[in-house]
Subunit: 263 residues, 3 copies
């Protein structure tokens, strides 16, 4: 599961199966999240109407819920979609954007976490805030991922699922097991919505592997390696974003396995 | 009308007249649709408030309605805008994103189709679904465009307008006439919202030609050739999207006429 | 304040202080506005829920309000955020997208202008429309910035703040002082949301300089120089957008000071 071979099999599965991922995601991230999913071979769908989210989730392989630009109507739709996903035993992934930034965000997250996401994917500040241990400043992290490791373990035990805390090094835990991915590049933090789009990819990988820990780990690995490859010939955040999508789409086995730093 | 010369005249008209196109379009596609319109020389405006859509349509050359991330408030605005467009004899174009994916989408589309769009532009699965002949899987097509040819003809007869079904080959029909554009590139399907942005371009071309069949055909031709040109030096979906906008803006007569495969 | 040295100090302050900028901004512009802020070193946050805007503004260095894709719920949130910003003496910046295009926009703007924005940033047509002197056609300007100079001065006197009118030449006035920036490139008008993203940058620069006139002038200067640099090796609007973000992030003192044309 932690081998480059296993990650590569997930890349191939994404391309072969083209999982449909239903995303209820913020306005800033919609474009990048859709393009990341298309680049790896998955099929994105964005839908937020209370009138249709339960039907959309029923045809999808996974649901991702991102609270970035939340408001009450969207939160209601999130709950309808999640309830349906749980009923159908489909994995749902939570991205707690800006956790800790406002009381409203915290209150909404409290109710969402109770619905036991298969995976929570956030930055250090967000995972700390979810465990009541930090007040985020906006949506960018003020904490290194490693600072949130204990909080991640506690959160995983609380939800019974997997928690990924991402940063310079990415960690995945289910409360017992721990894995780390030491790939990626600092330019990823200079492009908006790279965290949100990663959450969408987690949805796709969990859909094809059928397993939350492994799927999450593989998503982080694929994303990190593509980021490293993209940074090699980027002149800044604009060209990085472009090459990142190219690299995600063009990933080959040698490039992936040779660069992967999984522990 | 089917000659390269005629298509080139439409390119020049877009640049000279800079038609204002009012788009009620999904959140994922707003950026690309606006950039495609600006690239060809048109002027995009996005507005969805029930308080202003009727006024906005009154100053625009065409209205495009795209149901991608629909909800009831937006659907209400769509109807207000369409009703005004019809009253003022302005063309309105329908993009039935995800037709067939949920009962809500189908119900909304049923009411929209009754308002006789000048053009419907969709992929194979969407056009089939509009005629009750397929259940789409999300928003990406599971059917080749040619499979939807009969459905397209039937739909055109039903609306009294034009139907474009796009894919590897694009078709345009008014129920009697049929034309095909065999340009484009597979990378277009790996970038989100390329179909939606094409619908916005159809709006611009119908506005400057004053004719639904010709305007639609020319939009498909311009888009397909720019896509082919862009693919020649793209390394993947990221760089394709960048070069595609460059090629749309920089199209010259020789490059267009020499590559066009219209029938 | 008008020297290249002073502008460069603002660039360094953006990178060192990473000001949090709260943007209530239209759907089309969210991606570019966030990426422009990240490129210069600032930290963007987008939030529009009435339940949280007042709390978000309280942790931000500046608030920007852009009416691009407005509707009544968003307008209500704008007022809540603005009221809190004023109470806390935080600067708020208004981008009157499409002023004059519809009666609804004009009515909304009338109420917003009364709340005395620290800065208004618009194109020629928008600033003229705000003073009742023009009817805009959509969201692209039909007037050169210089035509709106008197209107800009009058508007600045009315609000007691600063007004920037941007175009081929950009002007900043507080009703008495006047400064001009003669940088930038025509390609900026061929990429959607470049005006809106500039308004976000004005917010960041006003936050770090603590001064509306200087902050606005420096934002225009940084943006214009980065635009010129980007245009040198762009093949069209697609590649321009990419290089523009690269140049904003990579701006160095010599490149900035040598190119600046401030008066």
């Amino acid at each position: 599961m932690k081998s480059g071979e296993a990650v590569w099999r997930t890349v191939l599965a994404l391309r072969a199966e083209s999982p449909l991922v239903h995303n209820i995601v913020n306005f800033v991230a919609m474009d990048l999240a859709a393009n990341v999913l298309l680049a790896v071979g998955a099929s994105p769908v964005m839908a937020h109407a209370r009138e249709e989210v339960a039907d959309m989730v029923a045809i999808a392989g996974a649901l991702t819920v991102n609270i970035g630009t939340l408001d009450p109507a969207w939160v209601e739709a999130m709950h309808l979609a999640i309830d349906r996903a749980r009923k159908l035993d489909k994995p749902w992934i939570l991205d707690p954007v800006g956790a800790g930034a406002t009381p409203y965000r915290n209150e909404v997250l409290k109710a969402l976490v109770k619905k036991k996401p298969a995976v929570v994917r956030g930055n250090g500040s967000e995972i700390l805030a979810l465990m009541g241990k930090s007040a985020a400043r906006g949506v960018d992290s003020a904490n290194a991922s490693v600072e949130a490791l204990d909080a991640a373990r506690d959160l995983a035990r609380k939800t019974g699922g997997v928690v990924a805390v991402t940063g310079a090094v990415d960690y995945v835990t289910d409360g017992t097991q721990l894995a780390a991915v030491d790939n990626g590049h600092a330019l990823m933090g200079r492009v908006t919505a790279t965290g949100c789009a990663l959450t969408a990819l987690v949805g796709a990988c969990v859909a094809v592997t059928g397993e939350a820990f492994e799927g999450t780990l593989h998503a982080l690995a694929i994303y990190g390696v593509a980021g490293e490859l993209a940074a090699r010939d980027a002149d800044g955040p604009g060209s990085f974003r472009v090459r990142f999508l190219d690299r995600l789409a063009g990933l080959d086995k040698a490039g992936l396995v040779g660069r992967l730093r999984l522990q």
